[in-house]
């Protein structure tokens, strides 16, 4: 079975790379096959790894009275009907007359989502980052020259980049200068991200070439 899988993967890889020459039926076949398979696979996984273990099995255990492996009262499984029913309201969108019912699951989703997200995101992305930016200056006497340079550069970068996005004052004079430095920091960031993206794409090509030469052609010769 494995040689067959290798052959299928190799031929599909060649079909996809044929796009480098120009658009063609082989490429389109592989592209459509990939999309179809991905959707089918995601549906099957959602059913088997989500719907069945998290919704159906607890409910069935509640109906049959079978004690689950966690040892809790199987009748608790009936509480799963509440989220299941709320979730089913999403399908109200399919009927124009009942479409308004979708507001309830959406309201719950947004409410719970915001409640969970806001404090944690503030801590992870704002407070911790501010703390990390300031902390080096609290132990300035222990920093090496290079570390001190890095800390100062970081402060300049943060202030200037934030200035670029600060539109409550006109960008003239010193503010314009800081804003331009901010743009330079942003450009360096984008350049770094682009360079790393190229690295990622090259990695994919390297892996595929390695597969074609060693796993596929290696089985032939």
């Amino acid at each position: 079975m494995e040689p067959l899988g290798i052959w299928v993967a190799a031929l599909l890889t060649l079909c996809i790379y044929s796009f480098l020459y120009r658009d063609n039926p082989f490429y389109r076949f592989a592209e459509h096959l990939f999309i179809g398979l991905s959707v089918g696979y995601s549906i099957v996984m959602a059913i088997h790894q989500g719907l069945i273990p998290l919704a159906w099995e607890p409910l069935w255990a509640a109906i049959t009275g079978e004690v689950p492996s966690t040892g809790e009262n199987p009748r608790w499984g009936f509480f799963n009907l509440i989220p299941i029913c709320i979730g089913l309201l999403f399908f109200a969108r399919l009927s124009p007359r009942h479409a308004w019912l979708i507001r309830y699951p959406l309201a719950i989703l947004i409410g719970i989502g915001s409640g969970i997200e806001i404090p944690n995101v503030l801590q992870a992305d704002i407070f911790a980052q501010i703390h990390g930016t300031i902390t080096p200056f609290g132990k300035i006497e222990t920093l090496s020259a290079m570390e001190l340079f890095g800390a100062i550069l970081m402060i300049i970068g943060v202030i200037c980049t934030l200035t670029y996005f600060f539109f409550s004052v006109e960008h003239r004079g010193a503010i314009a200068g800081m804003s331009k430095i901010g743009i330079a920091f942003l450009m360096i960031g984008f350049g770094s991200a682009f360079g790393n993206t190229v690295l990622g794409r090259v990695a994919l090509l390297i892996q595929r070439v390695d597969f074609l030469l060693n796993d596929w052609l290696g089985t032939l010769f």
């Binding site: 480098l20 020459y21 991905s38 696979y41 995601s42 996984m45 959602a46 790894q49 989500g50 273990p53 998290l54 099995e57 689950p68 492996s69 966690t70 989502g113 969970i116 997200e117 944690n120 995101v121 801590q123 992870a124 992305d125 911790a128 980052q129 703390h131 990390g132 970081m154 960031g189 770094s192 991200a193 360079g195 790393n196 993206t197 190229v198 690295l199 990622g200 090259v202 990695a203 994919l204 090509l205 390297i206 892996q207 595929r208 070439v209 390695d210 030469l213």
Partner: protein, 271 residues
């Protein structure tokens, strides 16, 4: 000549890139590998864990990015099994389960590790944030069974592992923004130590978390994988990849430099 360079057919560049990949793949090179500081930190953290500790590896990557991330997973898992550290595999991405299963089985076979005693694969549950938060309370409430369908309470290594309190580190191997989710929820809310292995595209976004200590270590692309392989003295796909990638990068840098020179010279002539 300048005009020819400026209008170079992209197919010529494709051929150059193909050659730059093919030649070192057929004739392997042995370029020196440097270990990035952030990869060294991750290695040191794992290496300092006592035998019997547990780390969780989140295989949050799909087929489109496993080229960069699988060598990292392999290197870290080998290190853990050599040190007697137990590994729990999990994923927030539906298409990663089979990749994770295949890799864990392969490394375990190589190291003579036993499923259920040295490592386990929990599998996938939809929900992302809910899965991370749920496991913080009780892993068995989110994953009643492992990927093979075996109840967690029947698996020996899970007897004393109830939630993140018994896990020393979460390593997220990510091709998307899942590292932020793990940091935001598992680290902030449950104080779980987080490390990351990411594709090159994501690495710039990760450095702020590294600088604040929210990430204990970081591996990025082939560079991170090859560095970790060097540290455990087990060269693999990461080393082979970085050798080839170095040649392609030289080619790309050369093309960018030549393209820019041609552009500026042409502009000067027009003036």
């Amino acid at each position: 000549m300048l005009q020819k360079l400026m209008n170079l057919n992209r197919h010529v560049i494709f051929i150059f890139v193909a050659l730059a990949v093919l030649i070192p793949t057929l004739i392997p090179m042995n370029l020196p590998i440097t270990v990035p500081e952030q990869t060294q930190k991750l290695y040191d953290y794992i290496d300092a864990l006592p035998p019997g500790s547990t780390i969780m590896i989140a295989f949050d990557y799909g087929a489109s990015s496993f080229a960069e991330l699988e060598p990292m997973a392999e290197a870290v898992m080998k290190h853990c099994l050599d040190k007697g550290i137990r590994v729990i595999g999990v994923t927030l991405m539906f298409d990663a389960v089979t990749l994770a299963d295949k890799l864990m089985e392969k490394v375990a076979k190589e190291k003579g590790a036993q499923y259920g005693e040295d490592y386990i694969l929990l599998g996938y549950r939809p929900g992302g944030t809910q899965v991370i938060l749920g496991m913080g309370n009780e892993i068995a409430r989110v994953f009643e069974n492992d990927y093979m369908g075996k109840p967690l309470d029947e698996i020996p290594m899970m007897q004393n592992i109830k939630n993140y309190e018994q896990i020393e580190l979460l390593l997220d191997l990510a091709s998307e923004s899942t590292v932020k989710q793990w940091v935001t929820y598992a680290n902030v809310k449950y104080n779980l130590q987080i490390a990351a292995g990411v594709t090159g595209v994501l690495v710039s976004d990760m450095f702020p978390y590294l600088q604040t200590g929210q990430l204990v270590g970081l591996m990025s692309g082939f560079l991170g994988a090859s560095g970790y392989e060097k540290l455990i003295n087990a060269p693999g796909k990461g080393k082979a990849g970085i050798n080839t990638a170095s040649l392609v990068h030289l080619l790309i840098i050369g093309l960018v430099v030549i393209g820019n020179i041609a552009f500026f010279v042409q502009r000067l002539r027009e003036k």
